[in-house]
Symmetry: C2
Subunit: 422 residues, 2 copies
């Protein structure tokens, strides 16, 4: 049954009281502009530093903490799930329609409850390391078909472990940041030399990413059945990719400059606790995973995902793909446990991307590489069409879980392509 | 001609007044144990926070800075080459035999000049991102011969761009830190399933790494001819590698868990200014590089490198390879310029590994994979021999430039292998 907040939450809002995602914002109004944590509720942001200052985080784990007087969420993430659950319970109570503490405190409410259109969202976390997995079977298969042909399109290792690579942390940007078309060396055809210039095959990748909580010490792996306690929540992610640069550089050490020019994440981290009602069974894995990847409960989440493109000069955006988080073959917890099995340490705020989330149908492919089959066909975008992204294109990813009378949504993750440097 | 310091510097010391490498140390003596910057001189460490407090950094760029009252060097790195040159000039003067300011100030000297055997060295920088290149042609060729055979052992892209991958920043540790043998999935033979357990092919990799200075904004590449101004200095690096894990996981996205269990760096960053007398011509590149990689002056450095192994229970260590930094095909400045050509931003303290530095002769190969040709032959180590590393083995990398009457050395970069978790 849907809980009710005293803050108005429209029926189509992503940010019901069941959600309460965390972000970092600046408010340019009468307030100072110090970046600080907030949760989204309807069309408002609740300033958690104000709530902490008012002493309303009065549970045992948070009453003496300064975790919300920080310019990122890392300190809160480090506290772990018991503190996250305490914060969620406190906030759900504080915002509920039958609780007077905030509702009837006019001055605190005015200070702490800020219209969302007055705030600027920033990166919610300081990201030490960013890892990108490759966990959709449909995506792996399509890439194999495109680049290697129909014989064994998916490498044998893929079914035994969640393949991943280290990504670039410095170039992760918040939704709304423009992306400059990268320059680089493109794959030559035949024996001709490589070309240099603006990427001719600029692509988006529909992904989500898990935000790591406490993490582990170097040398001490995290058990797969305890891995969920190390995942604070999930964001939308666009892992922009220059396919021509990537194709030329990636043998034998993997993607590098084809990816590192920019990765966009959504501002609101939706917690695993908020996603719990939308948990569903992960796909059966054949062959069965090795014991260290074998989970007592193997969970995915039913999160509807959509990518829209808004070409330059267009009023409207047009849906180019509709997918779902539940298409992932390897779960978030398997990804995390695998990441640490060699002793590698994860730190609070590390980001684990899922890889492109493609579904089985052509309409659910998660990037233009697949949707246009590496530019061999056109994808219709309103009155125009695309093989790859053009300058001025804005790509907007959204994600939502629909509950009974409420939503747990991610908002959007967007970015616009600017022309390359001359 | 050799400058002379009032601090005794033995003839074989790595740390002459011509060197003055930077590190971060803690001193457990009468002093507090706050981590702070120092430079090495002979058998001493000069505490730069004490020098800064005493007002002896009196040049225009540093007189009002608190860059040495920090627990890492990032703030100093951010200041750029003019500040680095000013600090070097100040310190060379302060330590010289004909300068009284420090020499004749007994109380400051006692406070600031600490015996090296009383300090503990820490990671000198907060590393945002770590990138590892693949810049020795001999190493690339040997890997190709071992894994793909004699036909085109080096991929065509290798001659056009400095191949690299993103490494794991969290697991970079300081010299002297033990390395736990990683567990993971090993490459199956034929159609058998992968095995799981402690790595059976644990290896070292002889590398060096450049420490990034000011860096660049996202979207604004650094010109190759200005790249040297973004490199503060160089450290020794051991990029420990589990060859069996790596071989199974690396297609198609590159090395991941086969590397991320630990990477060791030496504590002292030797500056480019100190290395300048040892600059030499980089090899001629054929085909000539694209214009963005074409340098007015293409420099390597003549740095003798050595790897020794000290088996458990042995008194002595045994040299297993002797190489030289000047075997690199792609220069540090080309690596850095290539890294940013797509707009990727570098930040102060980022680390750019060279990749394994192998020379042309079998005695100069930079890892056991090459030295034992993937375990097909034994390498003699004192009275015993090795195909790959065994538990208890300590691997010690050292590097030195020999000047006329003085050395500019790197000290050592060492780590001992501990047994895997059960």
């Amino acid at each position: 049954m849907a809980l009710k907040s005293f803050v108005e939450v429209k029926l189509d809002s992503h940010f019901s009281i069941h959600n309460l995602p965390y972000g970092i914002f600046k408010h340019g109004g009468v307030d100072t502009t110090t970046p600080r944590p907030g949760v989204a509720i309807g069309d408002y942001v609740l300033d958690l530093s104000a709530i902490q200052s008012a002493g309303l985080f009065d549970g045992p784990l948070l009453c003496n903490s300064d975790c919300f007087h920080q310019s990122n969420l890392n300190k809160f993430l480090e506290l772990g799930r018991p503190a996250w659950k305490e914060a969620r319970a406190t906030l759900q109570k504080l915002l509920s329609s039958d609780e007077p503490a905030l509702q009837n405190n006019a001055s605190l409410k005015q200070m702490a409850l800020l219209p969302m259109d007055e705030v600027e969202m920033l990166l919610p976390i300081a990201i030490g390391d960013y890892t990108d997995f490759f966990s959709s079977k449909h995506h792996a298969k399509n890439c194999g078909l495109i680049f290697r042909g129909p014989e064994n399109p998916v490498n044998p290792n893929w079914f035994h472990l969640p393949i991943a690579y280290h990504g670039r942390a410095s170039s992760i940007v918040i939704s709304g940041t423009d992306i400059i078309r990268p320059r680089g060396q493109g794959h030559p055809s035949g024996n001709s030399p490589p070309y240099f210039g603006p990427s001719r095959k600029l692509d988006f990748e529909l992904e989500m990413a898990a935000v790591v909580g406490p993490g582990n010490e170097l040398g001490k792996p995290i058990d797969v059945n305890e891995a969920a306690d190390h995942i604070f929540g999930v964001v939308l992610m666009n892992d922009w990719s220059a396919r021509d640069i990537q194709a030329w550089e990636y043998v034998p050490l993997g993607p590098f400059l084809g990816k590192s020019f920019g990765t966009t994440i959504s501002p609101w981290i939706v917690t695993l606790d908020a996603l719990e009602p939308f948990a569903c069974d992960a796909p059966t894995q054949i062959p069965p995973p090795l014991p260290y990847l074998s989970e007592k409960i193997s969970k995915n989440y039913d999160i509807s995902l959509e990518v829209r493109i808004k070409p330059a000069g267009e009023e409207n955006s047009f849906t180019v793909t509709s997918s779902n988080f539940n298409h992932l073959y390897w779960t978030l917890t398997q990804q995390l446990a695998h990441h640490t099995i060699n002793g590698c340490n994860l730190r609070p705020g590390d980001l684990l991307g899922t890889g492109t989330i493609s579904g089985p149908e052509a309409e659910s492919y998660g990037c233009l590489l697949e949707l246009t089959w590496n530019g061999t066909k056109e994808l219709s975008v309103g009155k125009t069409s695309r093989k790859f992204l053009e300058d001025g294109d804005e790509v907007i990813i959204s994600g939502i879980c629909k509950g009974n009378g409420y939503n747990v949504g991610f908002g959007t993750c967007s970015g616009k392509i600017l022309p390359s440097l001359p």
